[in-house]
């Protein structure tokens, strides 16, 4: 039907124009008049609107592709998201030419993801055994340096005089002190990514609570949640040790690209990941959060770091749902909408919170 096709084309143009920056109140009333002119117009418009919202779900498949070139045709379907999908659906799709869909690695198709290798470095912290890196620092600088911080949802770049660059994530604070013998940064809270300019005469040292991260010239991030410290290395070598200088247990963890270290009071746990996986942990630098089958409780905690409007989970069953996707860190709204569409979850919003509760059976049958 030509008529129907034309109406649909027009509706698509309206839909697109309405989300453009040039949309005016006058446009709005013209659109309303067009919608009111015929139910065919209104239905065509609403159908496209529904479809366009549905297309938000592509975000779910976006994990692993952000910052990479866009996935090639067929690659999306090898996303780990479809791991548990029934054979029937897959078989229908599998043609000999698209054998790539069979690889486990949903990210880039070219290489298989190695199983994370866990390498636990036992690290006693009894009073008698102090873990230390006997460092070249003579003393600690406490009351010197410049302080930089970001608010919740903030992201800012701090260029240093030595050519290094620091990117501060949401709700973070650092103090920077450059001396002749050392470049020292204290991560007081939050997360920062460091691109360190090489300078053999002045080591670059990051302190995160009791942890000391020393490098020469490299790229890595440090995140601090009180005493828990996470270090992700994407280039060069990084040593993670303790802040305490005097020790007869001079053990540190040496990290290389792809390593992710979790340091707590009990020791350092080093995971070896692919570089692209490690880089995914740093997707916050471009404003994104990436989840791979992440428990909803963790995903919500991540979102809450970036937003004043907090996600609150009301139920243990909801907390353990697993989510995947590539999300804009500041778009809680889109995340909540996808949860509501895809899971037995009921979302209620108020000014300062988004509450996730289980969907009751009665509601479920209506969806």
């Amino acid at each position: 039907m030509d008529n129907l096709e034309q109406t649909n084309d027009l509706a698509a143009q309206w839909l697109v124009r309405r989300t453009s920056a040039r949309w005016s109140e006058e446009d709005e009333s013209t659109l309303n008049a067009w919608l009111a002119a015929s139910p065919h117009n209104a239905v065509a418009f609403l159908r496209l609107q529904a479809l366009w919202r549905e297309a938000d779900k592509l975000k779910v498949l976006g994990a692993g592709f952000k910052g990479q070139p866009m996935p090639r045709v067929g690659e999306l379907k090898s996303s780990p998201f479809f791991k548990h999908l029934t054979r029937r659906l897959r078989r229908r799709e599998m043609t000999p030419a698209s054998g790539r869909a069979a690889t486990q690695d949903g990210e880039h198709g070219s290489h298989r993801r190695p199983r994370p290798r866990y390498l636990v470095i036992a690290w006693g912290v009894a009073a008698s055994v102090v873990v230390a890196l006997t460092a070249e620092i003579g003393f600690q600088v406490f009351n010197r340096g410049n302080i930089y911080s970001t608010p919740v949802g903030g992201l800012s770049a701090v260029p240093l005089a030595d050519g290094s660059k620091i990117t501060l994530n949401t709700d973070s604070q650092i103090r920077v002190a450059l001396t002749d013998t050392e470049r020292q940064v204290d991560l007081n809270r939050g997360e920062a990514f460091f691109e360190v300019a090489p300078d053999n005469s002045r080591p670059f040292v990051v302190y995160a609570g009791e942890k000391r991260i020393a490098v020469l010239g490299t790229k890595f991030s440090v995140r601090r949640d009180r005493d828990a410290v996470e270090v992700v290395v994407t280039e060069g070598k990084v040593a993670v040790g303790s802040r305490a200088r005097h020790s007869d247990f001079p053990r540190t963890a040496e990290l290389t690209p792809g390593n992710v270290a979790h340091a707590a009071a009990a020791g350092v746990n080093v995971e070896t990941r692919s570089l692209s996986q490690a880089e995914e942990l740093l997707s916050w630098r471009s404003g994104y959060l990436v989840f791979h089958e992440t428990p909803l409780s963790e995903a919500a905690a991540e979102f809450n770091r970036y937003n004043l409007r907090k996600i609150v989970i009301d139920d243990p069953n909801v907390a353990t749902l697993h989510v995947s996707g590539n999300f804009r860190a500041d778009n809680v709204q889109a995340f909540a909408q996808l949860l509501q569409d895809g899971f037995p979850v009921m979302v209620s919003r108020s000014e300062d919170r988004v509450v996730l509760a289980p969907l009751r059976e009665k509601n479920l049958s209506e969806r």
Binding site: M1, L4, E5, Q6, N8, D9, A12, Q13, L15, V16, R17, T19, S20, A21, R22, L35, A36, P39, H40, A42, V43, A44, L46, R47, L48, Q49, A50, L51, W52, R53, E54, A55, K57, L58, K59, V60, L61, G62, F65, K66, M70, V73, G74, L76, K77, S79, F81, F82, H84, L85, T86, L89, E93, N326, R328, N331, A334, D341, G342, S365
Partner: protein, 190 residues
């Protein structure tokens, strides 16, 4: 046409659009008419609900589709044993179809990925930018080095193509690649 009615229509009726499309594909002998039937059904529901919102929207939607098909069969004197048989059992089907035949969220996204992959490359790229990277139209225009006006046109065609691939043809793939690359008005139904 209050905003809330449209929201209601989106939430209660259009969520079932794909299920309805699958159902129509299943029972109506001529697939090329399904898109038209679908739109017509939705328009009827829209008109009726604007006056009085049904309490069981999903059932109402499928019942409307059934009436519409029955009308057409009568009017056009289509005699199809196959269809008749199906029509008579529709009452049962409609009630049975709901939970069991509904696709899981994962399957829906699978179909979405399928439709997305069937898009012409330039539309595919643009929709990816809008939906996954969440660029604004302006940002997309800058990145692609074209005018905002050109982005609007491209996006409108891309959305239409996605609709063709996703809604009108839930069971087949590939064929939508033949849709005219330059857009125009050539979105015929194949």
């Amino acid at each position: 046409m209050t905003e809330s009615f449209h929201e209601w229509f989106l939430r209660e009726i259009l969520v079932h659009e794909r299920a309805l499309a699958r159902f129509l594909m299943h029972v109506w002998p001529d697939r090329s008419e399904v898109h038209d039937l679908l739109q017509e059904t939705l328009v009827r529901v829209y008109e009726a609900a604007a006056v009085n919102r049904p309490t069981a929207p999903r059932g109402f939607l499928f019942a409307t589709a059934r009436h519409l098909m029955a009308d057409r069969v009568r009017r056009e004197r289509i005699v199809s044993i196959e269809l008749k048989g199906d029509l008579e059992s529709l009452n049962v089907l409609i009630d049975e179809i709901s939970p069991e035949r509904r696709l899981t969220a994962r399957e829906e996204i699978w179909h979405l990925a399928e439709a997305f992959d069937a898009l012409t490359p330039e539309y595919r790229e643009l929709i990816w930018m809008m939906k996954v990277e969440e660029l604004s139209q302006q940002e997309a225009a800058q990145r692609l080095g074209v005018t905002p006006k050109a982005i609007e046109r491209r996006l409108a065609r891309g959305i239409r193509q996605l609709q063709q691939a996703f809604c009108s043809r839930p069971r087949t793939s590939q064929s939508s690649k033949t849709v005219a690359e330059d857009g125009g008005s050539g979105y015929g139904q194949s």
